[in-house]
Amino acid sequence: MSDAYIAKLSQPAMRLFCWSVAWGLSILMTYISARFFHLPKMLFVVALIVNVGIGVGAIGAHIRWLKALDEMQRKIQLEAMGWALGILWIAFGALLIMDAADLAYVNPGVFPVLAALGMAAGTIRGFIKYK
């Protein structure tokens, strides 16, 4: 990547990283607190509000990062999002059928993991395609 492009991208990329880490940590800390400590319910309501607030901030940071990308990198991300969304819909349908037919129990935690894997696979595919 060119120096000017890297310089333009570094700040939004760092902000996206920080917001994403903060969001992940807020989920982890709230989950651990709820699971292992008996804290007042009000504290969890506050934690939930903080978590949603950080999540909204992470969405904003993601949009700013996408805007800082050049048009081809943005196209790679767009295609990767298409892959992630498509995989999510297909998996949701398949797992819904499996659940209804008592073939398997579906843990909802599998969906963000599938979306993340779809996004990663789509991004790698894009980088190879436009290499």
């Binding site: 990547m1 120096d3 050049d70 048009e71 196209k75 436009y130």
Partner: protein, 62 residues
């Protein structure tokens, strides 16, 4: 879409990174345009044309 980007760049002894710097895009994007894997948008095509002091049609052909 066919283009003369690589030819014009090498005439000026520029690297892909140099051209990427001038156009404010990634080096990967320059490579993808040169190898005709990616067609630039109209604003980027205008930017390229202005940089080489040519018209868009002189650089990009159907």
């Amino acid at each position: 879409m066919k283009n003369r980007l690589k030819e014009l760049r090498t005439e000026r002894n520029w690297t892909q990174a140099d051209l990427a710097n001038y156009l404010d895009v990634s080096r990967q994007t320059i490579n993808a345009i040169e190898t005709e894997k990616f067609d630039p948008s109209l604003p980027l095509a205008f930017k390229i044309a202005r940089l080489f002091n040519l018209s868009i049609e002189d650089i990009f052909q159907d």
